[in-house]
């Protein structure tokens, strides 16, 4: 289908990776090197407020390190207010006070050189955004401007990045909309005339029309119905595979991760507690929180009693000392409340932060 006539995009030639080595490259084969698109090192982002002399610090992201390779979908899971959205806002530099970067770095590599996204000046950032780095927002079916037709939204977002004459630009948009199975007629529609699933597909089309190297999708299908959700996700994956971009997919739904992501990171209270290949993390969870998340999921055909987790999610303004999960953890020992556990490799590419299930002494030698 795509071979029949992929639209000749303006930036096709400027992409050194495209077509180079078309073989399926999976995670883990080439660890470092040109294939690493995103590297996050020890990132700390806090919300700092100061009202009437009372200062408050909410440590929404506290020491997160991760990396994403080319052509890989990295999943981020965790409950609400665990810092998932803050983390990706920091990654795409969509930060506003009171959110502040306290430490760490976010480095992208789009093929030619390393870019520290927090060091870029405004016009460099604008050149990177949308063309190399696009962002599907949470609740993005409501991000389209309600008083502008879909066509104008495409012009606003993509025209200056594609740099083609207008008629050609329009043809390109139409053929791109065909990928997400939307008729050209939607270009003339206002957002309210489209159903939720169609609006979501329009935003996916918007975010992918410039064939970005990196897509960040924050809960892209949470507001959609189950039937439409599966459609939208499979389309997202199809486009991602076609343009060979990398993606971070944030959702709390483990079922979505199981079906879509290559690697999965589990966040709890602003920290990454477990990370590995999605199949490993779901089949063989090592952190007690992950174990709970996976075993407590109800499944059709399964009537064994499931339990909720005791206790309440931690307050990030005053997180528990040591491992942040210890007040709710069934395996907690004395060390847990004293010191935060380090991330330890327990298997190839499978990292866990837990004193009990992954004590540092039992770790594999670093690769």
């Amino acid at each position: 289908m795509s071979a029949a006539g992929p639209p000749a995009l303006a930036n096709e030639g400027a992409r050194p990776h495209q077509g180079a080595g078309g073989a399926e490259r999976r995670f883990g084969r080439s660890a470092a090197g040109p294939d690493r698109v995103l590297t996050v090192r020890d990132l700390r982002a806090y919300y700092r407020t100061n009202h009437f002399g009372i200062s408050r610090e909410v440590r929404a992201v506290d020491g997160v390190s991760l990396h994403v390779d080319r052509d890989e979908i990295y999943g981020l899971a965790g409950e609400s207010s665990c810092g998932k959205t803050t983390l990706i806002k920091t990654i795409v530099r969509a930060i506003r006070p009171p959110l502040d970067i306290v430490g760490g770095s976010v480095t992208f590599n789009f093929g030619d050189r390393d870019l520290d996204i927090h060091a870029l000046v405004q016009n460099e950032l604008e050149a990177v955004r949308w063309r190399h780095l696009s962002y599907i927002l949470q609740g993005s079916m409501n991000v389209l401007n309600p008083v502008r037709r879909v066509r104008q939204s495409f012009v606003d977002f993509a025209f200056r990045h594609i740099r083609k004459p207008f008629p050609e630009f329009l043809r390109l948009i139409e053929s791109h909309l065909d990928r997400v199975r939307l008729a050209p007629a939607v270009l003339d529609a206002y957002p309210h005339e489209l159903s939720g699933g169609m609006r979501q597909r329009v935003t996916i089309a918007l975010a992918t029309v410039c064939r970005p190297d990196f897509i960040v999708a924050d809960e892209p299908t949470t507001a959609l119905d189950v039937v439409v959700q599966k459609d939208v996700l499979s389309m997202l994956r199809e486009i991602q595979r076609e343009i060979r971009s990398s993606m971070i997919l944030v959702t709390h739904d483990i079922g979505v991760h199981a079906n879509l992501t290559d690697r999965l990171g589990i966040m709890y209270a602003g920290r990454l507690v477990e990370e590995g290949r999605t199949a490993d993390v779901i089949r063989n969870p090592r952190h007690p929180y992950t174990t709970h998340l996976v075993t407590s999921l109800p499944r059709i055909g399964d009537l064994t009693p499931k339990r909720g987790l005791e206790g309440v999610p931690p307050n990030l303004a005053a997180p528990p000392a040591g491992c942040r999960f210890h007040p709710r953890c069934p395996l907690a020992i004395a060390t847990c409340s004293a010191e935060a556990p380090p991330m330890v490799d327990v298997d190839t590419g499978h990292r866990v932060a837990c004193w009990v299930t992954a004590p540092p002494t039992a770790s594999m030698p670093p690769q």
Binding site: E79, S80, R181, A183, A185, V186, A189, H192, E193, L194, S195, G196, G197, M198, D225, V226, V227, V228, Q229, K230, D231, L233, S234, M235, R237, E238, H252, D253, I254, G255, V256, H257, A258, N259, L260, T278, A279, I282, R283, Y289, H292, L293, V294, S296, L297, P298, R299, I300, G301, D302, L303, P305, K306, R307, G308, L309, V312, P313
Partner: protein, 297 residues
Amino acid sequence: MSAAGRSPLIEVEHVGMTYAIGGLFRRRAVRAVDDVSFRVEAGSPEILAIIGESGSGKTTLARMILNLATPTDGAIRFLGADLTGVRSNRERTAFMRQVQPIFQNPFEAFNPLKRVDHYLYFSARRFAAARGRADIETRTDKALQQVGLSLAEVKGRFPHELSGGQLQRIAIARALISAPSLIIADEPVSMVDASLRMSIVNLFKTLRDELGVSIVYITHDLATAYYISDRVLIMQRGKAVESGNARAVLDHPQHPYSVLLKNAVLSPDDVDKPIARPGTSRDSADSSPAIAPSNRE
């Protein structure tokens, strides 16, 4: 089937609801609920799950059972009495005492500027006829104990100080104060965190088994419906397309729409199977070239 001479707890008979939308011009009718019938028997508490995607009429149906909306066709009878006959304030209070709602989003169900115990005290005064501070607090505490909380934990707290799971428990406790016989829960766990969701779902089981409350559980989540409900009713565009024993229907769905719904569930067990290519699960209405306005708004 039912015990002779005994009216069912709730009887929904060929109920339909038509909304008129649009202004003076281009007025059109939207059939939100179309000829839906079911009953929940008295005396044998059960959990009935109503499953469907948005726009399928689930919430409209819930509003009609709660007597917040009047059906345009058919009738709903509570213990044999037609709901349209509930007119006076006294009748309405008596009905509300028996049938209580739980809403989807616990953060929106509570006024952020009021302490949560205010709602509990108010319900105790109005529906449980509690008089005097001590009586009100005892009843409130009893209801909170039933959901695994206590008045001491909740007293004087504002909604933002509590987690979604705790707030939803408080919402359930509020519904329990009047000792209802039927609870209508509209997507009660979809806004609750994954780690706390199952404790709320288990709570519904406890309510059924220990307090004898029947529950109409409205959801789009087939997995939790399978886990807790006794019967299911699957709705598509206002029509009930399939109903019956929860295990039987969800293990072997018959209607094409039920099959579609079941196949669309993304299970964590499919971790090695990549997501199905589009086209296999494409739903015809959404992919049609014409711009199909969603029938929801």
